[in-house]
């Protein structure tokens, strides 16, 4: 399969988006006390799989196409996703201290959910910004 720049970008958007959705689902499930299939390791595996897929797509495309797929527009989108997800993470952890303070949820649960939802914010914002303008 000829891995063009557009295909590398499509793999990146799809894998980041999928990993983000898995993190979001598991973060929300953790907060609501529901059990999702696959166990708590699944978000980690999804993140590592996304990284592996992007690496493989870039490797298949070759150095020149990989560089074109990660050009200055992408780097700007990635920086913007990091900036915005930083504020999302601050808001999340600040908000989650309230139910912890009132003994509504344990601190470990809040920490786990906050981490998963922060990861989801970064991955999903990255996929959305990467997709915009295409």
């Amino acid at each position: 399969m000829d891995m063009t720049v557009d295909k590398i970008v499509t793999v990146r958007i799809a894998s980041m988006g999928a990993a983000g959705l898995i993190c979001l689902a598991y973060g929300l499930a953790l907060l609501s006390g529901e059990r999702l299939p696959g166990g708590t390791w699944l978000p980690g595996v999804a993140g590592l799989s996304a990284a592996a897929l992007v690496f493989l797509a870039s490797w298949a495309g070759g150095r020149q196409r990989a560089r074109a797929a990660a050009d200055e527009t992408y780097r700007q989108d990635w920086r913007r996703a990091q900036q915005h997800s930083y504020w999302v993470a601050l808001a999340l952890f600040s908000t989650l201290t309230i139910p912890v303070a009132f003994d509504m949820i344990p601190g470990a649960m809040a920490l786990g959910a906050g981490g998963l939802l922060s990861a989801a914010a970064l991955l999903l914002l990255s996929a959305i910004y990467d997709f915009r303008g295409r």
Partner: protein, 67 residues
């Protein structure tokens, strides 16, 4: 001040698609698209590379406009 450009005009005159220009310059098609639509301000290196690949100079492709 905003950066205006005539990349699309020069590109179409050269008979190039966005994808073809992107490949020549070594960027993604999105970058060419967003530069043409004045959504993305290119780096000096990219602006000079675009001008070189389109056979013109950077001042012809880009200029500043009052808002």
């Amino acid at each position: 001040m905003r950066l205006a450009n005539r990349v699309k005009e020069v590109r179409t005159a050269a008979g190039l698609t966005q994808a073809a220009l992107a490949e020549r310059v070594g960027v993604s098609r999105k970058t060419v698209n967003t530069v043409e639509n004045a959504v993305f301000v290119p780096s000096t290196t990219l602006a000079l590379t675009l001008a070189r690949e389109l056979g013109t100079d950077v001042q012809t492709l880009f200029w500043l406009e009052e808002d």
